[in-house]
Structures are given as C-alpha cells and as structure tokens.
C-alpha cells in the first residue's frame, strides 16, 4: 500500500471516529483520578514481592548473625545479606528510572533516548541480578543449614547426593540457563543501543 492510499484510509477512519464520540464528562473525570489508574498495580509485582522476600530473609539472617559461629558460615551470611539488600535496590531503582521520565516536557526524541537508556540499564541489572542470585543460592546453603538445623554445612554434610550430584547439577543448570539469559538480554541491549546511537546522531 502506497503512502497516499494509507493517508486516504486514515482520513476515512478519522472521519468515522469524529462521528462516534462516546466519552462522557464522567468518564474523563474518572480517568484523571489517581485511584482509577493502574499505576499502583503497575509497579512491577514480581520485583516488589522479590524485594519483600529479600529483606525478610536479610533481616532474619542479621538477627541471628551471632549463631553463625565460624568464619566461613559468617562470611556466607554477610555475603548473602549484602546481596539480598542490594538486589531490590538495583531492580526497583532501574524500574523507577524508566517510569519517571517527564512525558510532558520532553520531546518524542528525548523520551525515546532516555527510555532506551533506562531500558538498557534495566536489562543489565536483570542480568547482574541473575548472577548475584546464583551466588546467593550457594552462600545461603551453609547459613540456612546452621540457622534452621544448627548444623555446620561443610563439616557435617555427609550425603553424597548433596555434594556430588546436587551441586554439579545446579552448576550445569546455571550454565545452560545463563547462556539463554545472556543471549536474550544482549539482543535487547543492542537494539536499545542502536536506537540511542541513531537518535543521538540526528539533530
């Protein structure tokens, strides 16, 4: 379809839309009210739930820090707490950056650039979160073993299943999954990068 034909179809649609005005004053007023917006619900739920879980676990570990009575369990506990505290800040912060762009003052080009940059940052945060999450998966094992069962994970674990099967299995799974994650996000990041480059080059 040529542009001229597209313009003709568009114009016909515009005429039809003009004849079908259906919005009422009440509907418009309701749309302007915060309570009818989906914004609260729009806050990324998975990240919010994740943040609550992270902080709950971090607080539990901090309260029971004295129970981690040898250096390696204590170190695991500290690493776990740091990651659990940092992860939600990183992900919610990057989401916030994407949401708080000035849509009223910015031009379309500025918004596209800022949004692409924020999106790129968000994708990187997700990738980093994934790796940090994997570290937590290991550091939390001795901590939870100590806090829940009172056992020293390294000294008292005798099960062949845990050491010889479960951990290599987890690592294999991580390697396979990380390949997919990296591939997926690399594509998104490079498409955001090319858009930024293209827009920043133009006046």
């Amino acid at each position: 379809m040529e542009l001229e034909e597209m313009q003709a179809v568009w114009s016909e649609m515009s005429t039809q839309l003009e004849q079908q005005k259906k919005l009422t004053d009440k509907m418009i007023t309701m749309m302007t009210q915060e309570k009818y917006r989906n914004r609260l619900n729009k806050v990324a739920y998975p990240e919010m739930i994740g943040a609550v879980i992270c902080y709950t676990v971090a607080i539990l570990i901090l309260i029971n820090l004295s129970k981690l009575d040898n250096w390696y369990t204590l170190l695991s506990g500290i690493i776990t707490v740091i990651i659990l505290l940092v992860l939600p800040i990183m992900s919610l912060g990057s989401i916030n950056k994407m949401r708080n762009l000035d849509v009223a003052r910015n031009s379309y080009k500025q918004t596209l650039i800022q949004y692409a940059k924020a999106k790129k940052r968000f994708q990187k945060v997700i990738t980093a979160s994934y790796y940090l999450g994997f570290i937590v998966m290991f550091t939390i094992m001795p901590v939870s073993s100590k806090l829940i069962n009172g056992k020293d994970f390294f000294a008292e674990t005798k099960s062949v299943w845990t050491l010889a099967v479960a951990i290599p299995l987890a690592i294999t799974f991580f390697i396979l999954f990380s390949r997919w994650v990296v591939k997926c996000y690399t594509n998104n990041i490079s498409s955001a990068e090319s858009l930024i480059k293209e827009l920043e080059e133009t006046t």
Partner: protein, 162 residues
C-alpha cells in the same frame, strides 16, 4: 469555564486522536484501554504546565506519544478500569469489511516500523506539517523530511516483498 470543564472539552474534541495513538502502540483491547486512561491522566497532570505555551495539538501529541513509549509492557492488568471498551469497539461495527481490511493493512505497515518511525508516520497520517512534526518529535524539520523519505522507501520495499 472551569479548568475541569475546559480539559473535558479538549479531551472530547480529541478522543479520536488518543484512540488512534493507543491503537498503534498496543496489541490488545485491555492494553489499549489502560494506555488510553494513562494518556488522559498524564494530559491532566501536565495541563497546568501547558498553559498555551504551544498549540493544543502539539502538547497533546507530545504527551500521548511519550506516554505510549514509556509505558512498561508488563505494567498492566488488574486495577480499576473504566469501561471504555464500548467506546472503542463500537467503531468496528461501522466498518465495511473491505475498509476494515484496508485499515488492517495500514496498521500492519505501521507496526513494521521502529518506534521513531511509528511516531513520525502517525503524525504524517494525521496531516501534520513538517514544522509541527519537528516540534513534537524534537527533530529538525529537514531531518523529519529525510526520515519520512526513508519511511516511504521502506513502505515501498514492504510492498515489493509481498
């Protein structure tokens, strides 16, 4: 006229414009309704700052297009929703099937463009002059011209491919 009634009048006058923008930037009815509400909300929020600094249409297109591109795709579902479905769906009942098919082709062409081109294309189809398109998009008028030429080429190549 009060601020509220003035705003309501502007939205009513331009409801078709908002509808067209939401159609281009969403894939389903639910998403479209959400975006429609979000645009009206953002317009209301920025209404005080607008104060006639620019043309109403420039302000409206700018806010609506910016809202459309910054809206997180996953940010949707749930929440109280004003039933504007009937407002929007009804228009398809008026279309004859042939026109609907042609309209689908137009939308398919637009969907094939990138975000910047999509915005430019919409403004072009809306009959905006290069100067106003430049004002809304932040590009220079000459750059708008160059990019629109590229879009035309792209459309032609889409036709050749088909």
């Amino acid at each position: 006229m009060s601020k509220e009634s003035e705003f309501t009048r502007i939205i009513k006058e331009n409801e078709g414009v908002i509808f067209k923008i939401t159609t281009i930037y969403t894939n389903d009815q639910e998403d479209q309704n959400d975006l429609y509400q979000e645009i009206v909300y953002q317009l209301w929020k920025s209404y005080d700052n607008f104060r006639g600094d620019s043309k109403i249409s420039t302000w409206m297109y700018r806010v609506a297009l910016n809202t459309a591109i910054t809206r997180l795709k996953k940010e949707k579902r749930r929440g109280k929703r004003i039933e504007i479905d009937k407002v929007i769906i009804r228009q398809t009942e008026y279309y004859d099937t042939e026109f609907e098919e042609r309209l689908k082709i137009v939308y398919a062409h637009i969907q094939g463009l990138n975000e910047l081109e999509k915005g430019l294309m919409l403004l072009l189809l809306e009959g905006k002059k290069y100067e106003e398109i430049a004002d809304i998009t932040g590009l220079s008028p000459s750059n708008v011209g160059t990019r629109i030429s590229r879009i035309k080429q792209k459309l032609k190549s889409q036709i050749v491919k088909k």
